[in-house]
């Protein structure tokens, strides 16, 4: 697994480095300059512990530090961040982290182990909804204890292989105890007080987020940049126009460019390196399993059978994706079921005649005149295009949908409350490169993005057994069983495809390495701008 992850990271990094001409790495880092970047939408809220949209993480990425993090120089490796080092007990259930001394919060207050405890007590509290870090850590962490002001212990419920990977996630950031006590949450711009390489400078709703260099950053000599500006650019044409005009220097996160967009950019700019990559993100269609019509498994099965994943990938993603897969073999290797097996599963197999006939029969059985539904979609990325294709495919089996579109943050609010019938298009990015992430993000009952509120005890049981298992082969067998079970179940989250796409880095941007997830390595602590 680790070997494969390293291979992926090296492959991505090599692609970028090669495209950059190979000379960049030998240059001496230069101080100064502002990196211009973009967010696909307005985050609205900024609490990295309590939210799940990528834009929230992007908006705050450089402001906070983690106990550990994915190494900016080699994002396939886990490296110390606020912790200098750590030890693991022989039974694998206690992790002791030795924290850096002399670290200061952006407001000048000293950092200590009490801040780590306050942050993780908040994240792990049973009543606190933490769809990313909390969903990943709650199943495995029993408690967090302060040993002394610079030592903190994580006690696990069982020896869990993915623990360090989950803790290194960019959603598991450490916030200041005194800030949490003062503000109650981390939503306000004034509450963005971290220990990261950049201070949170300003947030103009719908327009701009800006960070400024933290001169007291605990890694001496970093960061190189004076600041980072994130323009809030909604919609593909606006994002592409900004890229073509040279207004943004980096396109490394969701939504990826489509091939036609990448070609258009290549014709407009010769000072960028364009590369194709996966962003460890799955495209899912959600149904609400708690209310009719999709509370009935027959109707959920009908939708799964009716959807033509291959057509969706070919048209909406212009072929850049892995249709049908529940886990992507390109990302998690043999933890994923072989694609040959997945593509024989009803709903995914081609041709679709038998599946469409069965879907139609199921719809007519419950709704003889056909079914009318409202289909929700957030107006970000190319979700609206995908939704139109979904509606066209569902019409073939007698399900007639009308689209209801939402602004990004408003959509998340509605989805979180379960106030929808179907979500036609929703990408879910993995928090870590471990196969476990998919289940803690989407499929377990307490998964952070289980918007359809589907509960299957067998899924929870298999997912937990896989977490507890230390033998790689046995884990693999458990994940195969889990995938087979979900693919055969009337799940409320239909896997459509793993998303790929095109990205670019301005040739002036140096020291940037794409991570294995879309969330990591966005602190830009080691990024600098060439003349």
């Amino acid at each position: 697994m680790r070997g494969l992850l390293s291979f992926c990271a090296v492959a991505i990094a090599a692609a970028v480095a090669l495209a950059a001409g190979g000379a960049a790495a030998q240059d001496k880092p230069r101080y100064g300059g502002v990196l211009n970047w973009f967010d696909y939408g307005d985050p609205g809220r900024l609490d990295v512990h309590a939210e799940s949209p990528l834009v929230v993480q992007q908006a705050t990425a450089g402001v906070y530090s983690g106990v550990i993090h994915y190494d900016p120089d080699d994002p396939s490796k886990i490296a110390p961040d606020l912790a200098e080092r750590w030890t693991v007990s022989p039974d694998g259930k206690t992790y002791t982290f030795h924290l850096r001394k002399g670290v200061k919060w952006h407001d000048g207050q000293p950092f200590s182990a009490a801040d780590v405890k306050a942050s993780f007590d908040r994240i792990l509290h049973p009543d606190f909804k933490s769809p990313k870090c909390g969903a990943a850590l709650k199943p495995m962490v029993a408690s967090v204890e302060v040993q002394d002001p610079h030592t903190v212990q994580f006690r696990l419920k069982f020896a869990a292989a993915p623990f360090l990977g989950n803790l290194a996630s960019s959603w598991c950031r450490v916030a200041a105890k005194h800030v949490l006590e003062k503000y109650g949450d981390l939503n306000a711009p004034d509450a963005q007080i971290g220990t990261g390489p950049f201070r949170f400078k300003r947030y103009e709703r719908g327009n701009l987020i800006e960070w400024a260099r933290n001169k007291d950053y605990f890694v001496r000599g970093l960061p190189y940049l004076d600041g980072v500006r994130q323009y809030i650019l909604v919609g593909g044409p606006t994002q592409l126009a900004a890229a073509k005009a040279g207004r943004v220097m980096l396109w490394d996160a969701w939504p990826p460019m489509k091939k036609t967009q990448a070609d258009e950019l290549a014709r407009a700019r010769t000072d960028v390196d364009i590369y194709q990559a996966s962003i460890n993100t799955i495209y899912v269609l959600y149904m609400n399993a708690q209310k009719p019509p999709f509370s009935h498994p027959d109707l959920r099965r009908a939708v799964s059978l009716a959807l033509d994943r291959q057509e969706l990938v070919a048209k909406a993603l212009e072929g850049a994706g892995v249709p049908c897969a529940l886990l992507d073999p390109k990302l998690v290797g043999d933890f994923a079921l072989p694609l040959e097996e997945v593509q024989k599963v009803p709903g995914c197999r081609q041709p679709k005649d038998a599946d469409l006939a069965e879907a139609k029969r199921l719809v007519e059985k419950h709704y003889p005149g056909g079914l009318e539904i409202e289909v929700a979609v957030r107006t970000v990325g190319n979700y609206v295009d995908r939704a139109q294709l979904v509606l066209a495919q569902l019409r073939r089996v007698g399900i007639r949908g009308t689209l209801k579109s939402y602004e990004s943050a408003a959509g998340y609010a509605v989805f979180g409350k379960g106030e929808f019938t179907m979500i036609a298009a929703q990408d879910r990015s993995m928090d870590t490169p471990d196969p476990e992430s998919l289940f803690s993000v989407v499929y377990s009952t307490n998964a952070g993005s289980n918007y359809g509120r589907w509960a299957d005890p067998k899924v929870d049981d298999l997912a937990e057994r896989a977490l507890r298992e230390s033998s790689r082969d046995k884990r693999k067998q458990l994940y195969w069983e889990l995938q087979r079970h979900i693919l055969a179940s009337p799940t409320a989250a239909v896997p459509i495809a793993w998303v790929e796409g095109w990205f670019f880095v301005d040739k002036k941007v140096r020291g940037y390495k794409p991570a294995l997830t879309t969330y990591d390595n966005n602190t830009f602590m080691k990024v600098w701008l060439a003349e």
């Binding site: 044409p237 014709r267 057509e311 048209k315 939704a387 294709l389 066209a392 689209l403």
Partner: protein
């Protein structure tokens, strides 16, 4: 002696050739809208073909980014545009017109107060008002009609009020009042018929305006739902593929331009024909 209708039309076309051209364009638009199911070779929402196919014999206007036949979408778009334009204008101009007629006839404080409401509504930039209404009401064809009707109401109220202010001082109105006609009867039988020509001009001129605003709202993503074949929404999709598929932008743009051109020519001709002060008018 009554002239045959065709001869009358021929005479009008001779006097207003541009108007006749406009009527021809509008006639084609109406026929396209009415017979859309028969004319469109495919469903407007059927994404059954390869994306980005250029115009060809099989797909005269090409296909869009999702593999939908552009010709079918443009044809169905005519129905949507005409429906939204016609209904919103009839509702907006009728309600606004009645508002203006009644308040002008009543006069006094009621008229003054109602004009301040009209002033307020007219002070708001129309597209901002429409966008706000759509944001509040949500995306649907019916809500586009409501937003457009609200937009058109104050203009119609102001225009017909001005007209009625002069009509109400006319001797025949005085006479009707003198013989004891109730107000509703005076308005219904003597005032309204004299506003009809202006009402018709307002309707014809504003349909093109309503179609453009609907297209603008859809272009901005706040008009008809995204999968509806709105010309404005097609333009938005076209802007995302200007280089690989310029036909996605070109044909809905042409459809909007031609429709607005035709409706404006027709509206101008009707205005000229119903204005007794202009040479060649019907009066």
């Amino acid at each position: 002696m009554r002239r045959p209708p065709l001869r009358t039309l021929g005479r009008l076309a001779g006097r207003q050739p541009l108007g006749a051209a406009g009527a021809g364009i509008v006639g084609v638009l109406v026929l396209t809208a009415v017979f859309a199911p028969e004319l469109a070779p495919h469903g407007a929402k059927d994404a059954a073909f390869s994306p980005y196919l250029p115009p060809s014999v099989a797909f005269p206007l090409g296909t869009d980014h999702l593999g939908r036949d552009m010709l079918s979408r443009v044809i169905w778009g005519a129905r949507l545009s005409l429906w939204v334009g016609l209904v919103s204008v009839l509702v907006g101009v009728t309600l606004g017109g009645l508002w203006g007629v009644v308040t002008a006839y009543v006069g006094g404080v009621a008229d003054s107060a109602s004009q301040r409401v009209v002033d307020t509504l007219m002070a708001l930039p129309p597209i901002i008002l429409a966008l706000s209404l759509m944001a509040a009401l949500g995306q649907s064809v019916n809500n586009v009609i409501i937003a457009l009707a609200v937009l058109l109401t104050p203009t119609a109220a102001r225009t017909l009020r001005s007209l009625v202010l002069s009509i109400r001082e006319s001797p025949y109105i005085e006479a009707a009042r003198a013989v004891g006609c109730p107000h509703w009867r005076v308005i219904a039988l003597h005032v309204l018929p004299n506003t009809l020509a202006t009402y018709i001009v307002l309707v014809t001129v504003n349909i093109s305006y309503a179609i453009v605003v609907e297209a603008s709202l859809s272009f901005l993503g706040l008009g008809a739902p995204p999968d509806e074949p709105s010309w404005g929404a097609m333009l938005t999709a076209g802007t995302q593929a200007l280089e690989p598929a310029p036909w996605m932008f070109l044909f809905p743009g042409l459809a909007i331009s031609l429709t607005v051109f035709g409706l404006n020519l027709l509206g101008d001709a009707i205005r000229d024909l119903t204005d007794p002060r202009l040479r060649g008018g019907l009066g």
